[in-house]
């Protein structure tokens, strides 16, 4: 296609624009766009950049609170943690690229989310990831899992940010669309946050970082389409991550920010130079003029279209104080990075691009952003699922055998094979790394600790989007609370199928409403997030997966508790359970799926009010020094949680199970808002529970022998438990 040739609707359609959208472009420009201009519209109006299907619903999320310094709308959310410090975080998906090339897809996902965080002026201190793969026996799973894990490690380990947590699930609905969501957390001074809005007409616009190649051209539009065989041929050149350059860029940017030379800054993520220049200029209600001949390129002969839509990694755009230009240049030279003034801020509210001395693009900014389509897509929810009773689901096996099967299942088996490939200790501030509940990372040089987790249970969301959305927030909150921290705020990644289908849209609406409802009650506003739609292959959608990333704060990390049992002679309680309970909610549980072969059924109701009360009680008890170990109850229920506490600890547990027909419900039910705690001062703890009016059931005691006894069943040694739990993934991957 010729650069200046006028485009037609056929061209627009090929770039993913609808006829109405094409008409709107003609109207706003009052002429026909050229290739470069059309490419810019198509990228900015893609689902990925414009959030056209989800925006209406994202607006319903709570985003404010006294702790919030910056909510959604910037590169990452910013939350106050006191003493002049702020935590900066966001989660982002790289689903499509990771399916095509798992190593590079995952690596560039990590690189991208790190840039979002350090762009805000924060030094990244932790990485997490939420991964979903197809059936564990599916032919592609092994290749995708090994590539994604290696890619995440490849980037994070090299750049030197610890990967401290995450989750991995397997389900056949992800056979053709895996999910790779990466979260980054950083620390900044709360009065030194950097934003993207351009300031001051006449100020220089600087390009820094790696050179621009033909990588991933139109990746944003790709991420906004379903997969089919046809996509294969449209495949852009895969983006290749360069964590080494990423590290230099991070250090150079942080050094430049400390030198007080930066006015505004934006990373080049999806849609590269297009979205960064448009966002900076439009947020500042200004314009921008760029000479594309000045952009450092890797290959000769790149067109304006290619330069504007390239998704080459490790690049940034910034506006700097003119008088600091030489300081800035020196810093980038020190780090051996490109530093190139490529244009200037203008007051025209237009984006003007020059190429070979000619104008390659001259369009008003307002339509690109303000007129980006926003749809109120119709939705219709599936029928509600029935509540299933324990009797309908209970398997024949005894509870020991059920425990063995659950611990060894792909869902619950140890993730050690995964997380040992991540450097979880670099920066030397990791207190709790992967393998427990929330990760805990020290705020360097202080007593503060950040508790961080990512959570979602797609089978609940699939069965009941509203409940599933609430539950994801509640489970994250429990993980944070189990460490003793108080939850501050969340980021979220909405992974769904094709929103043009009414049932999928209903999932999105339900899940977002549920998330919002829970966040309101738990006082955890949403400060950032990302949406990934069209996760479908040949019409088959994924199980909906609204991942919650939550960050909490503990004032003194030395007081945090882990989930492993520490010593004998402590009393085990279940917080949030009545003493007489002898059944549990098995519908939609992991037990039902793994042992009864039954998917679906109404999920256990989430109860954010109870979560808040129980979380407050636990924090209070931990603060009071009564708790030696704490673990939330989630997938697999009470007995699985207790087995995990034995496997992670240096002591055993002895409990007596109720004598009843509903024993499996009691042992493996997934009723919400519960924790198992090992208590050192039972009297004080029981008094606290009755004072705060929280139900708690005495479960048993800790013992010195490292074993789990659920009488009348025979004791199971820790080695035995581990022999069920540990080998599954490693065995699969070494086949």
């Amino acid at each position: 296609m010729n650069e200046i040739q006028e485009m037609s609707f056929a061209d627009a359609e090929a770039m993913g624009l609808s006829f109405d959208e094409w008409q709107l472009i003609l109207k706003r420009l009052d002429r026909t766009p050229n290739l470069c201009e059309l490419g810019i519209f198509s990228a900015m109006w893609s689902e990925h950049c414009s959030y056209k299907s989800s925006k209406k619903w994202l607006k319903t999320l709570p985003t404010e609170g006294p702790q919030v310094i910056q909510g959604p709308g910037e590169n990452a959310g910013v939350v106050d943690i006191g003493d002049g410090l702020a935590v900066v975080f966001k989660i982002e998906s790289h689903n499509h690229p990771s399916f095509i090339e798992p190593y590079q897809g995952a690596a560039t996902g990590v690189g991208g989310i790190l840039r979002d965080v350090f762009t805000m002026g924060a030094r990244p201190v932790a990485l997490l990831n939420a991964l979903r793969f197809g059936d564990i026996d599916h032919e592609k799973t092994k290749h995708l899992l090994s590539g994604v894990v290696a890619g995440i490690g490849g980037y994070g380990n090299c750049i030197g940010i610890p990967t401290v947590g995450g989750e991995v699930n397997f389900h056949s609905s992800y056979n053709g669309n895996i999910l790779v969501n990466a979260m980054a957390v950083g620390l900044a001074h709360s009065d030194r946050i950097f934003y993207s809005a351009a300031t001051g007409a006449g100020n220089p616009v600087i390009y820094v970082g790696a050179k621009t190649g033909r990588d991933g051209i139109h990746g944003a539009t790709m991420a906004s389409a379903e997969f089919s065989d046809e996509t294969e041929s449209k495949r852009p050149t895969v983006q290749v991550g360069d964590p080494f350059t990423g590290k230099l860029l991070m250090e150079a940017c942080l050094e430049l920010m400390a030198a007080d030379a930066v006015l505004s800054i934006q990373d080049m993520g999806a849609a590269g130079l297009t979205s960064s220049s448009v966002e900076m200029a439009s947020k500042g209600r200004l314009g921008m003029e760029i000479d594309l001949d000045l952009v450092p390129v890797r290959e000769a002969g790149m067109s304006a279209y290619e330069i504007m839509l390239s998704e080459s990694q490790e690049r940034m755009l910034m506006v700097i104080k003119p008088e600091q230009a030489e300081t800035a240049r020196a810093i980038f030279e020190k780090w051996d990075l490109d530093f190139m003034p490529i244009g200037q801020v203008t007051d025209t509210q237009r984006l003007v691009l020059l190429k070979d001395g000619k104008t390659a693009c001259d369009i008003p900014l307002a339509p690109l952003v303000d007129d980006a389509p926003e749809y109120d897509r119709p939705y219709r929810a599936d029928e509600m699922q029935p509540v299933l009773a324990t009797a309908q689901l209970a398997a024949d096996s005894d509870i020991t055998d059920c425990l063995r099967q659950l611990l060894g299942s792909a869902e619950l088996a140890s993730r050690r094979w995964v997380y040992e490939q991540y450097d979880s200790d670099v920066m030397a501030d990791t207190i709790f790394g992967p393998g427990g509940d929330a990760a805990l990372v020290r705020v360097h040089g202080t007593e503060k600790g950040l508790a961080i987790t990512v959570d979602c249970t797609p089978r609940y969301v699939d069965a009941d989007p509203f409940e599933g959305g609430r539950q994801a927030v509640c489970e994250a909150y429990r993980n944070i609370s189990a460490s003793g921290a108080r939850a501050l705020a969340v980021t979220n990644n909405l992974n769904f199928g094709n929103p043009e289908k009414q049932d999928i849209m209903a999932q999105l609406v339900g899940a977002v409403s549920g998330m919002g409802a829970a966040c309101r009650i738990l006082n955890t506003p949403v400060v950032s997030g990302n949406v990934s739609l069209y996760n479908e292959t040949d019409g088959m959608a994924i199980q909906p997966c609204p991942v919650i990333g939550m960050v909490g704060l503990i004032d003194n990390w030395a007081r945090a508790v882990g989930c492993g049992l520490t010593a004998a002679g402590q009393i085990l309680y279940v917080i949030g359970q009545d003493a007489g309970t002898d059944d549990g909610w098995l519908g939609c549980s992991l037990y039902a799926r793994q042992l009864a072969g039954r998917e679906g059924g109404a999920p256990p109701p989430a109860n954010p009010d109870a979560e808040r009360k129980h979380g407050d009680l636990l924090r209070c008890a931990i603060e009071g020094g009564m708790i030696a170990a704490a673990h939330d109850i989630s997938d697999g229920g009470l007995l699985v949680a207790l087995a995990e506490m034995v496997m992670a600890g240096q002591a055993g547990a002895e409990i007596v199970t109720p004598d009843c027909d509903t024993l499996h419900g009691w042992a493996f039910g997934e009723d919400q808002a519960r924790y198992i705690v090992a208590v050192t001062d039972a009297g004080a703890f029981e008094a606290l529970c009755s004072e705060q009016n929280v139900a708690c059931a005495r479960l048993g005691t800790t013992i010195s022998k490292c074993e789990l006894t659920a009488a009348p069943a025979a004791p199971i040694s820790k080695e035995q438990l581990k022999s069920w739990h540990e080998p599954r993934l490693a065995a699969l991957m070494s086949q």
């Binding site: 090339e101 190649g213 033909r214 990588d215 895969v238 983006q239 290749v240 350059t245 290959e299």
Partner: protein, 82 residues
């Protein structure tokens, strides 16, 4: 048959390693070296007397494991009876 397989990054795909080595060479005074690209060379023995068949087997191995055909190209050379 001994077979040599050369695996190179496709044209246009970023080669950060090549770039870093080029810079390092320049730092050591080798400013006359440009366009450094780094690929893999795999040598193996294929149990077959027939060169055409060995080449065919090697191509299969490349497609199914040795090369990442999304970003890499490969060439196969059958050297000699081993």
């Amino acid at each position: 048959m001994q077979v040599i397989i050369n695996i190179t990054l496709k044209a246009g795909v970023l080669d950060p390693q090549g770039r870093a080595v080029e810079n390092a060479l320049a730092g050591l005074g080798f400013t006359d070296a440009v366009d450094v690209r780094i690929g893999k060379q795999i040598t193996l023995d294929i149990d077959s007397e027939d060169a055409a068949r060995a080449e065919q087997r090697a191509a299969r191995m490349c497609e199914s494991l040795l090369a990442n055909t999304v970003i890499e190209d490969y060439t196969i050379e059958v050297v000699a009876p081993s």
